[in-house]
Symmetry: C2
Subunit: 349 residues, 2 copies
């Protein structure tokens, strides 16, 4: 239909005004009479104007700085998976004029999070990606961001605050429900074991709580008589882990189904492998390298994973679109799909 792109000039001519005025109404920064406003709007409608982003960006020299606030890879292997996503996002948005700066914190250290949050605020970014670990402090941060009109995006999980631009993460309750189905393979199970880590018991916020809930609900509905045992292991003490599992299975040798709701199923892999010979079904979460290795060897049967790298990438993209092109994300809450990994499809993940 339209052969040549219509420009500001075309609109100005048709409206009988200058491009200055046209620009003013396009960015509605006032100083325009009601009448001119109308005329311009009409012309725009008539000609089907589409702004040229290259001209706009070149002229304005707009730049954006996006801060990514996530736990450091050192404080747990899960977050190292996001590194790649940050890299990809950086590459994709850099030519547009977007700089990405990662600020990480020790996910077990509240003070360190405070420091990181302050650092983020100090750099006055045009957008922030947050992976919340500490509920209260995160709330404080995002309220401040809201006050400063800096848009922010949650990944992985979110806190109770509605001013976020978008959220990308796994639906936790549902992932637990799915996990129930995969662990039992749809059959009734008499007795199963949930392995948890010690800090869960020490009152720290437990991000997997609603996942566990989904799991229990699945059991209640599909395997009502099932007995559920729990043991607590210390992630920093392999000997304790071994002992706890030894004790449990001496008492309950009939248990064949084992599950963990955090990303650390690899912690029990040494025990499983030195006590092989029993047919077991083991399900865990997240594609950490150690988990994937256990999956490949057949020690773990299924991993339920998401793409942490995709999450950051999408989050950054959303902020970049907002900052550079004034585009709002299509959806606020983006539940990423849950991927089921077995030894046979993990290779291409």
């Amino acid at each position: 239909m339209k052969t040549e792109k219509t420009t500001l000039m075309d609109i100005a001519r048709r409206a009988g005004l200058s491009i200055g005025t046209v620009d003013r109404v396009l960015h509605n920064r006032g100083e325009v009479s009601r009448k001119s406003q109308e005329k311009v709007m009409q012309a725009i409608r008539d000609l089907g104007y589409e702004p040229n982003m290259h001209a706009s960006l070149l002229s304005s020299g707009r730049q954006a700085l996006i801060a990514v606030l996530i736990p450091s890879p050192a404080s747990g292997p899960f977050w190292s998976l996001s590194e790649e996503g940050i890299g990809r996002a950086a590459q994709a948005t850099a030519p547009l004029g977007v700089t990405i700066r990662k600020v990480d914190y020790d996910q077990t250290d509240l003070d360190d999070f405070r420091r990181a949050a302050r650092q983020v605020l100090d750099m006055a970014p045009s957008g922030v990606v947050v992976a919340p670990m500490f509920r209260h402090e995160t709330l404080g941060l995002v309220e401040e961001l809201h006050r400063r009109e800096i848009p922010f995006v949650f990944i992985d999980s979110k806190v109770e605050n509605d001013s976020y631009l978008a959220y990308f993460g796994m639906p936790m309750y549902e992932s637990g429900y799915l996990c129930g189905d995969l662990l039992t393979a749809g059959h009734a199970v008499g007795h199963l074991l949930i392995v948890r880590i010690l800090s869960d018991r020490h009152g720290q916020s437990d991000p997997t709580a609603s996942r566990r809930e989904g799991f229990m609900d699945y059991l209640a509905e599909h395997s009502p008589g099932c007995r559920v045992s729990q043991v607590f292991i210390d992630p920093d003490d392999p000997a304790q882990t071994r002992q706890v599992l030894d004790d449990f299975f001496k008492e309950n040798p009939e248990v064949r189904h084992i599950v963990m709701f955090n990303s650390r199923i690899y912690l029990i892999v040494p025990w499983l492998e030195s006590n092989a010979g029993t047919e077991r079904r083991v399900v865990g979460f997240d594609n950490l390298e150690a988990n994937v290795e256990a999956l490949t060897r057949g020690t773990v049967d299924i991993l339920i994973a998401q793409h942490p790298d995709e999450q950051v990438a999408l989050a950054v993209q959303a902020l970049s679109d907002r900052a550079m092109l004034d585009r709002e994300p299509a959806r606020k809450d983006n539940f990423m799909h849950m991927d089921i990994l077995t030894r046979y499809n993990v290779k291409y993940y």
Copy 2:
């Protein structure tokens, strides 16, 4: 480090030349003396020049036309899934100055493919996405594209020609192997049924052949004694389908495991639902709407899927990057991951 972006002007000054010359060496289009060439290269290295894509694109007015050659949604529901991907890709690349034109063909009609291929060539695109159905004709097309130096990307499957820019698709053999594991759930199975469609038998090229091979190999390794039956149904004749299945299950009431290797598992869903009451395990491929509905109702247990929309989107992106930014794709062969869908995770797919 670098505070202000360095521009052509900076380079020109440092090299003691004009920006005209600098531009000439940047795009190595000759007409530059050896000596100037060196000086410019040196200056570029010294200053760490990064071209400004906005200025470049604005000035050159570069446009790209990308043709997407895929089977029409009408000739089978699978391809309607890609529509959305085309839409997304269009939206993402349009602001860059990229136009996407879909050219579809009846996947059962060789002449129609020929027509479509000619149409694509006639529009002299800057890049082509091809989903090959007819091996020989596709080869002809891509050889011509190669001759005309038009880059092309394969999706879904590829033909024997090495000049493609990239490929995005599912690893077929592996998907069959995975399917074996999911159907048997790791247990030995005595007798199972493969449902195929009639045209498979009529010598048409069968894109699922290597998937079937992967499946059979899984069985050979993990369930060696298993008896495998096949029936052939006519996709256009529900009565025939019903009859064939009735006959088979009258003869073999003990069969509990059913699989189809193409995307049409929905064809046998009516029969399954009117013959419910038996505990069965049913596995199929691809997230067609009808398949997903059957999955949700529990008639089908598992679907192995890919994201056809993602495939086109990535393919278009690769061509757009190439045409507009002279960027080569990171990898030539991109095997997409195989997604395992159950009723519990399909909702977020």
